[in-house]
Symmetry: C2
Subunit: 361 residues, 2 copies
């Protein structure tokens, strides 16, 4: 057979560059680049194009993304900065974003705020010519002005007039939780929220409060608790609530970790769930179905949230035109719309003690 070609086959031994491909196809390097670059309808004769593609295939050519990044000034990578990886809700957001980014050919650089401050993460991301960053509830407003200059940014669950974002309808989450408890006849209602100042949590609380007030139910500060947004925090807050007189018959927790803690504390103290106390969480993390009793919670589509954030970010990256064409504009606006939430009624909530269930006639 053809034993003339100097390095007959060399799959991945050292490194196949676009020059090798060009040489094998008998064209110049720029021509090979035209074919192998994205631009599908570049001015290249079909025969040439096919020769180049064949050569690339035979040599097992893989473009060097680093070189491409340098030349194009883009890295085909995006960063995602999260407050704390240990929060399962955050995790789902990351997973959703990773999936979308990865199938669009983008790499995902993971940055955990609990390991290093955000500004520092952003510094290294920019040094890598990152194409965009997803900021998940890390307090973007507090960042130094130039920390994000020249980067595409999409915020997750954090409103801003400087950057686009995706979110869920957090206020609505509070409302449906309140509606649920009201429908069950609860009138002595408590709330446990995080001590940190995160927008989504504030909105959940606000929706909850306003709905209770509208129904004429008191929301006294003695039944309002702040605690770290963890299971432990939920336990502590619940312990304190249970010592009150009158004891609340229902508690809404701003997230599921708090709620799981609350449930656990009840069980520890021998308070029966849901007959003595109803607990409602928010997020619908996977674990919420796995505790006993299963947690009634407001379901937030975390994975979908992450996926949408990634899609929105990609839209800004790939269509930097300003103003955007109408189609892009429409797509972005759809992605930015708050995601609906819904209540998932499970075993941790029930009619208030003494309340008469209203049965359909």
């Amino acid at each position: 057979m053809s034993d003339v070609s100097p390095p007959p086959r060399n799959p991945g031994s050292s490194r196949v560059t676009i020059r090798d491909v060009a040489a094998r196809a008998g064209v110049s390097q720029p021509t090979a680049s035209l074919v192998l670059g994205k631009h599908p309808r570049a001015r290249v004769a079909t025969a040439t194009r096919e020769r180049v593609l064949a050569a690339a295939e035979e040599l097992g050519y893989r473009p060097n993304v680093v070189a491409r990044s340098l030349a194009r000034g883009r890295s085909f990578a995006l960063g995602i900065v999260v407050p704390d990886l240990r929060n399962p809700f955050v995790l789902d957001v990351v997973a959703g974003a990773e999936r979308v980014a990865s199938s669009a050919g983008y790499a995902v650089l993971l940055c955990d705020q609990s390991a290093r401050p955000v500004a520092s993460h952003l510094d290294t991301l920019r040094a890598r010519q990152i194409d965009g960053v997803l900021l998940d509830a890390v307090g973007a407003a507090a960042l130094p002005d130039d920390a994000l200059r020249g980067v595409n940014v999409v915020l997750i669950d954090e409103p801003s007039d400087r950057w686009p974002g995706v979110s869920t309808d957090a206020r609505q989450a509070g409302r449906v939780a309140a509606d649920h408890l009201l429908a069950l006849g609860h009138r002595t209602v408590a709330f446990i929220g995080p001590s940190s100042d995160v927008h989504a949590f504030r909105m959940r609380e606000r929706g909850f409060v306003e709905t209770l007030r509208a129904a004429g139910v008191a929301v006294p500060s003695e039944r309002w608790r702040r605690s770290a947004a963890t299971v432990r925090g939920g336990q502590a807050a619940m312990r304190s609530l249970l010592s009150q007189t009158p004891r609340p018959t229902a508690v809404f927790c701003a997230n599921d970790l708090l709620a799981i803690g609350a449930v656990k504390q009840c069980l520890t103290q021998g308070v029966a769930l849901p007959s003595d106390v109803s607990v409602v969480g928010c997020d619908d993390i996977e674990m919420s179905r796995f505790i006993t009793p299963e947690l009634t919670t407001v379901s937030i589509p975390a994975r979908e949230l992450g996926a949408r954030a990634a899609r929105l970010l990609l839209s800004y990256i790939e269509h930097p035109e300003d103003p955007p064409d109408s189609q892009t504009r429409a797509a972005r606006s759809a992605l930015s719309r708050p995601l609906p939430v819904r209540l998932v009624s499970r075993g941790s909530s029930a009619y208030a003690p003494g309340a008469t269930p209203v049965l359909p006639s």
Copy 2:
């Protein structure tokens, strides 16, 4: 003052390159590179060095990592490929690795196997000139031969004679679980393991079995269950076990998710824990403390595992010499040593029904 310099201050407006720094310091670009590159003891006069550093500081110079990567043939980034981000154990591994990598100045590219096949992830990682990859129980042995050529690899919880790895003493994990149950007087013992063929799980099972056998306790296949390594899987397996006669008095689950499922299934069916049945898990994920009763489990230091994996990988990246000097060698061997495990006794295990506690006299 000095109003001569053309762009007097320009913090981050467009992009400060090393050329700008060199110009400001009155030296050539290579000299600036010598100073700003790592090589601390390069041949540069102290006065020059300081001028360059001052200029860099004033201009807010940040090296472009992409360009540096291209020139040095390294990306200062490492990839981590995980089987499924939704598993909280995996998550802790990632968090540990991220922290170490990030403080060593390396970026972390996250790759979720459940979103895209490993080989494909590795392809894109190599295209990015990744410096190394962490493979967490993704079945490295089954990968095509050249998928990993030229990359530093460290395996997590997966033995291999081709690549170094970190692990926990999985067999010991099974042993301590068995010891615990034996000490509590259990003789009718069951096991729930994953259907997938993951080495650590196999070893946990083996350690468990061999300890039981050594104690003369039967391990009949009717009490051995395979199920997806999830909460649901644990529920299903437990349901089937509970229908047996005689009913097992204790179950060891190969991970905590299975165990949580098992506990939940017991509670659902009105089987009392731990008085009727003891359940022991493995991993000690955070959630295991938050279910009721709290889960007795074998604690695996996941975060530490991830951290060690990252350290080991960094050692290979930063000391590519072969053979390594003795200090490096010692450090690596220490990192490769299996991490010890320990049993954490909580509420889900107790004396077997009818077994007499042996009290210290």
